[in-house]
Amino acid sequence: MQRIYIFKRFERFWHWAQALLVIFMLASGFEIHGLYKLFGFKHAVQYHTVAAWSLIGLWVFAIFWHFTTGEWKHYVPTLDKLDAVIKYYLTGIFRDAPHPFRVTRLQKHNPLQRLAYLKVKLLINPLIWITGVLLLFYADWPAWGIGRLQLGTVAVLHTIGAFLMLIFLIVHVYFVTTGHTPLAQIKAMITGWDEVEDEQPAAAK
């Protein structure tokens, strides 16, 4: 086993802050949607709004960080080994087969992760953000020249975004447990250090 430092300090802060905010916004958001009572409607809206601005602020930093550090390259999609990774999760994982992808500092996400995170960044997040900001300023739509936009349409798209995020969250949390031990990946995201198999496993052991 070899330890490599793959999640830098800002990245870990960004991840966990985002995780908390997303979970919190799902909880308050579905309350606003009228599904249950948790904070009370008024507070749910207030908290949801504060969390939204916090998340937007966090993302501004994160985007800046991704581009200045070159970390954005980790999300460039690739088909290389994608089928192998999918096949691993469908069959190999049950037979203790080795993971076809090896984490390095240059490639910290496997091709499936790349696709999943890219989908979050390019589809789910923009959908939620754009509709969410529109909802925050619905009274200004006529002044913005988009008065013909229907509140209901925007709200439904926002809701669809929320469901996609919820589904991502479920899958993501589960995949966290699929490391070489169930807690290995979460540990990596907390400490920044990941344990990876050596290039020649037999020699290292």
Binding site: I32, H33, G34, G40, F41, K42, V45, T49, Y89, I93, F94, R95, D96, F137, Y138, A139, D140, P142, Q150, L151, G152, A155, V156, T159, I160, A162, F163, L166, I167, I170, V171, Y174, T177, T178
Partner: protein
Amino acid sequence: MPPRRIWLSIVFAVGFALSAWADEPAPAAGANPADLKKILKSTADHGKFKELEGPFASGPDVTKRCLECHTEAAKQVHRTKHWTWEFLNPESKQRLGKKNVINNFCISVPSNYGFCVTCHVGYGWKDANFDFTSETNVDCLVCHDTTGSYKKIPGRAGHPAYEEMEVPPGSGKKIKPVDLVKVAQNIGKTSRDTCGACHFFGGGGDGIKHGDMDSSLAAPDKALDVHMDATGNDFSCGTCHQTSAHDVPGSRYQPTAADRDGAHIRGKADKTNPATCQSCHGATPHKEEARLDSHARKIACQTCHIPSIARGGVPTKTSWDWSTAGQKGPDGKPLIKKDAKGHVIYDAKKGDFTLAENLVPEYMWFNGKVNYTLLGDKVSKSDGITRINWFEGSADDANSLIWPVKVFRGSQPYDPVNQTLVTPHTAGDDDTSYWKNFGWEKAIATGMASVGAPFSGKVDFVKTEMVWPVTHMVAPKDKSVRCIECHQQDGRLQHVGGIYIPGRDHVRLIDLIGFALAGLTLLGVLGHGALRYLSHRK
């Protein structure tokens, strides 16, 4: 608080009070506080006018004296709805006003003038021949009395009692003559009491008609009305209904539903209605929550700030079924039934009523345009409910806001052959009035003849609805409607269409698919995890 601090506080408080007293300007020579109050109130003490020393034989005699100085006052009054009881809606061209409309309370004025005009700002309107150009027949006192002793007596065509009389006749209730000299000498500004003498009692009694106006507003506390709070802001009606030339603004025949013009500023020529909330508070009054200002672009202030009406202990009428009128009790006398609190719920003269206190209004889009079903307009039973009036407005209309309204439901006589509403002759000591003779055909024949309208002689009853905007009884802000009361299914705005309300509205299919997919995903990963667990255990 420790005792030492209490003593200190008292010493400071007393010292402060003394210093404030010392700063008070010396009162004008010879003026005691009561006189000073009078001096500061007005430049004229009507008690010192020789012209008002009397004696006065009648109301018009007083008016003559008023007009000697206030030479144009009657001409001003002549121009107002308070005098003409007529309003020509410039948009719909409908001829409205008390004289012309039919409602589903006491129904209509014609042929009942002697009684209805108890609330007319004039004297002598006993039939259709009233002289609307008479200046001396303007009643100055009914609005400007400050003594509370001036009362117009029903059935006297707008006159008060000039001698002791029994009202109603045969009731044994004696009314003392009004002291016109005292009333005239104490003349002053209008007040909640003078306006309320009529407007609190619309529909034949306290609180019956409006629901947001009743006698509890004569001296309300803060919880009942944050502006008129008698020990606080103490607004009179005129504070908002800021009147010039005797023409009181703020009529519900052509209300201002959405005031986008913002607050009125001194010195600026504002032609818009001064009685709207926005004319003082502006269009963006919410200091702490900008989101509420966005709400105000689609929702009338009243919708959130008047959580319920009839809050002052006086119930308002919510329905009136004329079709059951005329029943006699076991004693052969016209039947009267009361509820546990002593409020009349059946009166042989009028039929069945329902009443409510703390009534939550209904809500609808409203752009200020009101239409009426007038005498002569086609009415048929097959139409279901006849709308006495209806509000225009919709979610797509930029001038519409969601308004709270009192919807008054009833059943009232109509002519099934000519298919029109009717104007029955209800009040009067004669051979055809309904309240004396209990015969619809005769009463309606007299009423319709008085306005020259055709009547087939047949009577049936139609269900009716009338809409009243709710705008009084503004609660303190901590008592305003909570977010959740509308942002939920089956909330206050459940019937208001055309708008998406978070918490109320869902696209069922999206929710279903969303949760189904999330659920399947969860099952999928749990299954995957279980398989992993089982395969590794082997």
